[in-house]
């Protein structure tokens, strides 16, 4: 089970407490989180289900590479951080 943490800055708009979910890819893990917290989905992903331009996701300290397909593998007991990218200002 992976633990997903969200940036503090998102909490003002939509509460996103840390959650522990199943899944072997970023897509599966995020789907599990957003199934339980549907309003948060649109803050992280756009309508094409791709990572928003100015968001970043780290798995055990490494930034994911596949921002569109969200296919990067997520290991058991991984720590996933959903952060805002500095590029967004």
């Amino acid at each position: 089970m992976a633990t997903v943490h969200f940036t503090e800055t998102i909490q003002r708009h939509v509460p996103c407490p840390p959650s522990t979910v199943g899944g072997t890819t970023v897509r599966e893990v995020l789907d599990a989180v957003f199934d339980a917290n549907p309003r948060a989905r649109g803050y992280v992903l756009d309508e094409q289900h791709e990572l928003r331009k100015h968001m970043a996701i780290f798995i055990d300290g490494r930034m994911i590479r596949d921002r569109t397909g969200l296919s990067d593998p997520v290991g058991a007991d991984a720590e996933v951080y959903v952060m805002q990218a500095l590029s967004g200002g």
């Binding site: 998102i10 708009h13 649109g42 309508e47 094409q48 791709e50």
Partner: protein
């Protein structure tokens, strides 16, 4: 006459009320957030606002009349890209994102149907809601029109719909202004669309294409509610008027400049309109450092520069396309600027008073219609 207005700014939505003699900021909603647009709905008192979060995308919120808390409603969304296909490109070969970048128009759709709304976006999607924003449907007739794919970015990188005008005679008659893509009109509620920008002129394309109605960079399109055959456009390189239901457009010579973004028309007198000019496309600053409002009362034959109460030296305020509004009486006007000034007139622009000269950059100003 209106006694309240909202100003959507880079750092929040400001509510400005008229006391016994002065207008003052009474409340700030979404302080710190980027409010790109506001619609105080005259039908039921609901206020809608669009937020553009840099990281988290665009959102729409509504405040029901009498309610104390805003509710986030649905965000207009573009359809899924067909699997295995790449994002579309514009005529210049640039990739157009297939997600909504900015909410650029919000208007009441049908006066008889509370909660019916039109929403224009960047990139150029037009959306309709019939449940006060709880859900949105893309207008596929316009979205799938082959000419829509030829729209281009103007001031923004991508094309967008910034003006939606619902005909007071028939809500099925709607016109939209596109930057860049001209004026499009429907008479069947959006089932079919046709270009309606004949007579506009573009000076940013080769001469033989200058009159192409599809290449026109309309900055703002307005229709006179009381004389709905009368229309005005502030265009990228000129000011145009139509007196025949937007069937044809005629260019006007305007001093000191015909460059600008905003225009409003008097609610009952179609020949009376106001503009806030800048120097030129290349120099988006007031002419000679003087903030003026240009008014015509004779259909554009003559214009007078209104300056009473406005700074006349070393001023660099620019007013964006939604930054100028007029109330339903036609006497009260307000405009907000990129440098955070907001001025109100109660005498059709003859004199102005500053509400503040220290607001965040102002994107949109809208009066609330008196109940």
């Amino acid at each position: 006459m209106s006694t309240r207005l909202f100003a959507a700014t880079r750092k929040g939505l400001f509510q400005i009320d008229r006391g016994t003699s002065r207008w003052t900021v009474k409340k700030v909603h979404f302080l710190g957030d980027n409010a790109s647009l506001v619609l105080p709905d005259p039908r039921d008192g609901t206020v809608y606002t669009a937020l553009g979060h840099g990281h988290f995308g665009v959102k729409v919120h509504r405040l029901r009349q009498g309610a104390r808390k805003w509710e986030e409603v649905a965000t207009p969304s573009l359809p899924p890209r067909p699997e295995g296909t790449a994002p579309r490109t514009d005529p210049m070969g640039r990739t157009i994102p297939d997600s909504v970048q900015l909410i650029w128009a919000l208007e009441a759709a049908d006066p008889a149907r509370s909660g019916s709304l039109w929403c224009g976006t960047i990139p150029g999607g037009l959306f309709r809601s019939d449940d006060a924003g709880s859900s949105w449907q893309l207008n596929t007739a316009l979205w799938n029109h082959p000419k829509r794919l030829e729209w281009m970015g103007g001031g923004a990188d991508y094309p967008g719909i910034h003006s939606v005008s619902v005909d007071p005679r028939d809500p099925n008659r709607v016109a939209v202004g596109v930057s860049t893509g001209g004026v499009w009109a429907t008479s069947d509620g959006g089932a079919t669309w046709k270009i309606s920008s004949h007579g506009l002129r573009a000076d940013y394309v080769p001469p033989e294409q200058a009159r192409d109605p599809h290449l026109q960079d309309v900055h703002r399109l307005v229709q006179c509610p009381g004389q709905p055959e009368q229309w005005w456009i502030q265009h990228h390189n000129g000011i145009f008027r139509s007196s025949d239901d937007a069937q044809s457009w005629h260019e006007l010579e305007v001093a000191p400049s015909s460059f600008g973004f905003a225009v409003v028309v008097h609610p009952h007198q179609g020949g009376t309109a106001w503009f806030v000019p800048g120097t030129s496309d290349q120099r988006r600053i007031p002419v000679d450092g003087r903030v003026i409002v240009n008014r015509t009362r004779d259909g554009g034959q003559t214009f007078e520069a209104l300056t009473n109460g406005l700074p006349q030296r070393q001023a660099y305020d620019i007013t964006y396309r939604h930054g100028l509004d007029i109330d339903e009486s036609g006497d009260r006007l307000a405009f907000g600027t990129t440098t955070g000034s907001l001025w109100i007139s109660e005498d059709q622009g003859d004199s102005w008073k500053a509400v503040s000269e220290h607001l965040p950059p102002v994107y949109a100003v809208r009066f609330v219609r008196d109940a």
